[in-house]
Symmetry: C2
Subunit: 339 residues, 2 copies
């Protein structure tokens, strides 16, 4: 192994090797390899270079290229938790696809929310001359910007810092809450409960605002007794069951899919069927859960892939960004059988 890429001396083949074989200068090799628009190269020389390239298995050294050109092709992505959820993975995925599209490569660093690791990660990226940094969190929240981030271009992904002047890309919680509620409304429900999280967050306030605005737009009076607090997990949803049953709601919008999963369980204990007795709507579209509940759960998707992709777009200046307020990415509905 480790063959073909290396000359007979064992050293990797360089532009100079190609030049020698093709009988031209390295400048000429550089021109044809990069297909420079300005430079006119004779057909003959061009062909000889191309042949030498394949013959030697030449592969340009991206690092040397960066050094001489002065601008790198790296984009750094620092995340607070890539292991905990599948969510961060999708942010990485979206960021990478978009980065590649523009000839950039992703340098990834996980910090576990640890400040020391964060400082080290950013320093590492700066030393590698990243074009800029995407700073992302696994759940939507406000953050305080690490000092070091001000030393390069950075965009916040799935988080924001008002007044920091840093562009941010976040999910549109309010539109998501509205979409979820509208799905229930469209199915004919009027008495719709909302199991909201007890944790203060953009998700908590945004989804609630969306829930309210959808009801109002439909001419349904908001009954505050229908919004119930619960821990944002299965346990919370399960515990909320009795209140839901008492409320007489015919449909429930759950703060997230995990809560919905707990509610499914509780509803079944009460002998209630989904969606016949009670319709259920989730949020997040966490595949392992939502797609496999019985019945499969209708929900609203958190646009993680898009967040990552949009993040690199604004970083590269391909997408306008208002530094004053976060850019909101839509949370699309995902229809399944729980309604």
């Amino acid at each position: 192994m480790k063959a073909s890429e290396h000359g007979k001396n064992g050293a990797p083949v360089t532009m100079r090797d190609v030049a020698k074989v093709a009988g031209v200068s390295v400048a000429t090799v550089s021109h044809v390899v990069n297909d420079k628009p300005g430079a006119r190269i004779g057909d003959d020389a061009r062909r000889r270079v191309q042949e030498a390239v394949v013959q030697l298995g030449y592969r340009p050294n991206a690092l040397a290229k960066t050094l001489s050109r002065g601008s790198s092709r790296f984009i750094g992505l620092v995340a607070d938790a890539i292991a905990t959820t599948p969510f961060a993975g999708q942010i990485i995925h979206g960021a990478q696809d978009e980065a590649w599209k523009h000839g950039y490569v992703l340098l990834v660093a996980n910090t576990d929310g640890n400040t020391a690791a964060e400082v080290e990660a950013i320093a590492m990226m700066l030393e590698h001359q990243v074009h800029g940094i995407l700073y992302s969190t696994w759940y939507h929240r406000e953050i305080v910007v690490p000092e070091a981030l001000h030393q390069t271009d950075t965009v916040l992904v799935n988080c924001f810092a008002d007044g920091s002047g840093l562009p941010a890309v976040v999910p549109d919680e309010e539109q998501g809450g509205r979409t979820a509620t509208e799905g229930l409304l469209a199915a004919g429900h009027r008495r719709i409960a909302f199991i909201n999280t007890t944790t203060p967050s953009p998700a908590q306030s945004g989804r609630l605002a969306g829930y309210r605005s959808a009801l109002e737009a439909a001419g349904v009076a908001v009954d505050e007794s229908l919004v119930l607090p619960a821990a944002p997990e299965q346990e919370g949803g399960y515990a909320a069951t009795a209140s839901i049953v008492d409320s007489g709601a015919t449909a429930v919008f759950c703060h997230n899919d995990r809560v919905a999963m707990g509610l499914y369980d509780g509803l079944r204990d009460h002998g209630l069927r989904i969606p016949d007795d009670v319709a259920v709507m989730g949020f997040d579209n966490q595949d392992v859960i939502a797609a496999h509940l019985r019945p499969p759960l209708s929900t609203v998707a958190l646009p993680h892939y898009e967040l990552g992709a949009a993040g690199v777009r604004v970083l590269l200046g391909r997408q306008a960004a208002d530094d004053a307020r976060p850019q909101r990415i839509a949370c699309p509905p995902v229809r399944r059988q729980s309604i």
Copy 2:
């Protein structure tokens, strides 16, 4: 923003700037910055350099360093699916932590299992002079090695290719199956069913072998009618319920946590309680599910973090590896309340 790192002219501060301010040569700066053991530098010069470094906010250019030193500090990680599951995220996490520990940095590429993307990803990494590549899959399986991988050192993570000569690190499915079964045995069960996946794979054969060996070691005769096939998802577990009930098993080892989740559902439909009527053991330790089922699920963890970490260890030669057979990483038991 983007301040402090740049000289008055706007250009980033280089070693030369530091040398000028400290009144020494760049060679001297290089020596003190890297704390070279060989070089003896006068206390005075050393101090002046250190002061200039902080004063100017000098940060070494890692790319230039790589170029002149000839060896890079990059490790490439190409994964077939980092978005689909939280699993790949943990592989990345483990690989990154271990890489950092040795002064290396991770270059990540997702290929979606797409061959073209794979070829491109590998080329990209080679052009960036990676020290080596970790090639990983999101579920344990045998692969055919992409041709390009032979151009650098590579280790297979969560997959293997017999006869390829490439070192591989995989989960120990058999030990995992044995551990799961032993957990049930230890709780006093003798009639233990095993819902195995219908998909041929190392997991299918390995976990089954582990199940058998644990029973044999405990002196329990293996009853083939107790091993039931099912799709490796909630739906499969749910569908297997009737057979489980008919079998008279007092405990069930499920191929994975998702199957266990489906079985929970089915068991409840039959009015059976967990663990009082039937004990359930999962596999994977997929947190969103296992930790939040009612009751929480006892399971066996797939060691993704360790796979990633071990992968870089063998890549860096820090850990012995037998090129002929994959290195197996233990799947530890995770005790919860379903037994």
